[in-house]
């Protein structure tokens, strides 16, 4: 019954054509702009120019650094959180999962906005630090990489936790007890059993978090401002303020390449561990 290819294409093509027309084609044209020279030929000059600016270098490295940092930290917290949640009774687990998903439903504008109040010099964090005697004068956290880091982490941690929860739940129930019986300590259990068995969830979560950091605009815009630019805010500035569409195209290309590269890299890491284990057998 499901043999007819013409039928299948008729069903699938409208969506594909739509996505291609309003999305892929315009984006490809935009990307190609970055490779055009004035006389219409192809050139990498715009890329050379882009990376020759110390500002752009700094922004590029910062974006990479924050993206990687948020991904790693969210993985660490994500495992702790996912373990804890999976260990709960089904009802509590449902409620806790709901609580993790909840922030995803709230406007990122509102969520980021809250950090201004929390991280400010007179905000809760500084008040607490002073009450606890951790710092004498209020610390300046807003408009720093730290602020962006915190904002991004809060924004994307739920994606990691959700991915890890489903990975942990799909793990064979006997794997951990079996490893314990064989004499592995908790660290070894994590490293040798849980990590390999949940790596797919980790890869999915990691990709979501990292690409999320690359695509987030609001958080760096509000918490970093023009003092701490990231690629996405820099791109906005290039377009909105400088009208420099070539630079915007270069940034767009870098962002897309980074997010695809992250995806591939994480997949590669996952399969590499897999083949290692297979070879060891």
């Amino acid at each position: 019954m499901f043999q007819n290819r013409a039928e299948a294409f008729a069903l699938a093509l409208p969506a594909a054509i739509f996505a291609a027309a309003v999305f892929i084609v315009p984006v490809l044209i935009l990307l190609s702009d970055g490779f055009r020279s004035l006389d219409g030929g192809w050139t990498l000059a715009a890329y050379g120019e882009f990376f020759s600016s110390p500002l752009n270098q700094a922004v590029f490295l910062r974006t990479l650094k924050l993206g990687a940092l948020v991904t790693v930290v969210s993985a660490v917290i994500g495992y702790a959180a996912a373990f804890s949640i999976v260990s709960l009774s089904p009802a509590a687990k449902g409620r806790m999962t709901g609580l993790v998903v909840l922030p995803l439903m709230i406007s990122p504008v509102a969520r980021t906005y809250a950090w201004i109040v929390i991280l400010g010099r007179t905000g809760i964090v500084n008040q607490a630090f002073q009450v606890l005697g951790l710092s004498e004068a209020p610390l300046r956290i807003l408009f720093s990489e730290t602020a962006i880091f915190i904002g991004l982490l809060q924004l994307f941690l739920p994606l990691m936790i959700i991915s890890l929860i489903s990975a942990l739940e799909n793990m064979p129930k006997d794997a951990v007890p079996a490893a314990r019986v064989l004499g592995a300590n908790w660290f070894q259990v994590f490293w040798k059993v849980i990590l390999p068995l949940t790596k797919e969830g980790l890869v999915i979560g990691g990709t979501l978090v990292f690409t999320g950091c690359l695509t987030a605009y609001i958080t760096p815009a509000i918490l970093g401002g023009s003092k701490v630019l990231m690629l996405e805010t820099l791109m906005y500035q290039q377009v909105a303020v400088s009208n420099n569409f070539v630079a915007a195209s270069v940034i767009a290309c870098i962002l897309i390449v980074m997010s695809f590269a992250a995806n591939l890299l994480l997949k590669r890491v996952a399969t590499a561990r897999n083949t290692q284990r297979k070879a060891a057998r």
Partner: protein, 340 residues
């Protein structure tokens, strides 16, 4: 499912229906400041007079000019208010038209500097303002632009980002204070660069400053006088500095988009806005300092504005051409010294 589609169709109809209800529409592009007051004093009365619909786009000056350029072939905006320098930039890009000042009844009442700020006949000033420093008088004392960079203050200031209208005048005055006022602004930008880690932020819109001030994130920031009023409502001891180097001038001007289909309506609107009556009302609400010399206000109001002929003449304006020709260089220097 079905109801959702119906509902969205209804919303779609409602939005398009709204647009079709009145055929004459004037689309203007303005700063986002004080829109409630503008609506009450300028937009609503004008809509009543012209029987047309006013559509308002807001944003900062540079961004809106960038957008006008993007839509050059098919202009959306009929009339815009932008900074002096941006007006020249727009005129150089052939985005604006010569203004028929004969249709502006109050034109002759304008201060001279507002009549044709860029000497190209394509803009008319509607407000000018002093650029100085707003600060917490209980925390500091500002007598010179250079005081901002005192070690005990610098961790508590916000500075306008290079992309804003406020940056150049501020840097220019800072250059004067440093005794190095070359048009490339190299010395003041270098000073900012040395202090970039200390400075709280580089703001994009002066309206952001109020929140930062309220939260004690900052104690001082260079700002335009138009932004002053909200600070007075914070309940904090706030002061407007009168640095010994003087205050830089800034002016916002009106332009008409080239190819606008509603040019007469745009001129009618500009005439209305520039009239003594409207300029007086805007001044009384501390929205804009009047460019119309016939406006009379109380001393208290005047004290909160950039008011009067003497003030107008004392302000140090950076010529638009200088600003435009150097802008790329400033941004490059800034990015190299401050941005990274």
């Amino acid at each position: 499912m079905k109801t959702l589609i119906t509902a969205s169709a209804a919303v779609l109809l409602a939005t398009t229906g709204l647009a079709q209800a009145q055929e004459k529409t004037l689309t203007i592009s303005v700063y986002a400041l004080a829109q409630d007051e503008y609506k009450q004093i300028v937009y609503d009365p004008f809509q009543a007079i012209c029987g047309c619909k006013l559509v308002v786009e807001t944003g900062n000056s540079v961004e809106r000019v960038a957008k006008m350029e993007a839509n050059k072939a098919n202009p959306v905006i009929d009339m815009a208010v932008v900074s002096m320098a941006d007006a020249l930039s727009a005129s150089r890009k052939d985005l604006t038209d010569t203004i028929d000042t004969a249709k502006l009844k109050s034109f002759n009442a304008l201060y001279d500097i507002a009549k044709d700020p860029n000497q190209d006949g394509k803009s008319v000033g509607y407000t000018f303002y002093a650029n100085s420093i707003v600060y917490r008088s209980d925390k500091m004392k500002i007598e010179s632009w250079a005081d901002l960079f005192k070690p005990e203050y610098v961790g508590h200031i916000a500075f306008p980002n290079i992309t804003t209208n406020g940056a150049a005048p501020t840097l220019y005055m800072l250059g004067q204070a440093l005794g190095k006022d070359t048009p490339d602004l190299a010395a003041p930008i270098a000073t900012i660069g040395e202090n970039k880690d200390e400075i709280v932020t580089f703001y994009e819109k002066s309206s952001q400053l109020v929140q930062l001030m309220k939260q004690e994130e900052i104690w001082a920031a260079p700002a335009g006088r138009f932004a002053w009023a909200p600070f007075t409502k914070l309940g904090l001891p706030m002061a407007w500095a009168t640095p010994k180097e003087g205050q830089a001038g800034g002016m916002n001007v009106m332009v008409v988009t080239k190819g606008s289909k509603n040019r007469d309506l745009a001129l009618q609107f500009m005439d209305f806005w520039l009239s003594t009556e409207i300029q007086t009302k805007l001044a009384e609400k501390l929205v804009d300092s009047p460019a119309n010399s016939e406006v009379k206000v109380s001393d208290e109001i005047a004290g909160n504005l950039t008011f009067g002929k003497a003030t107008a003449e004392s302000l140090k304006f950076i010529p638009s051409a200088v600003a435009l020709d150097n802008r790329a260089g400033w941004i490059k220097t800034w990015n190299d010294k401050v941005g990274q």
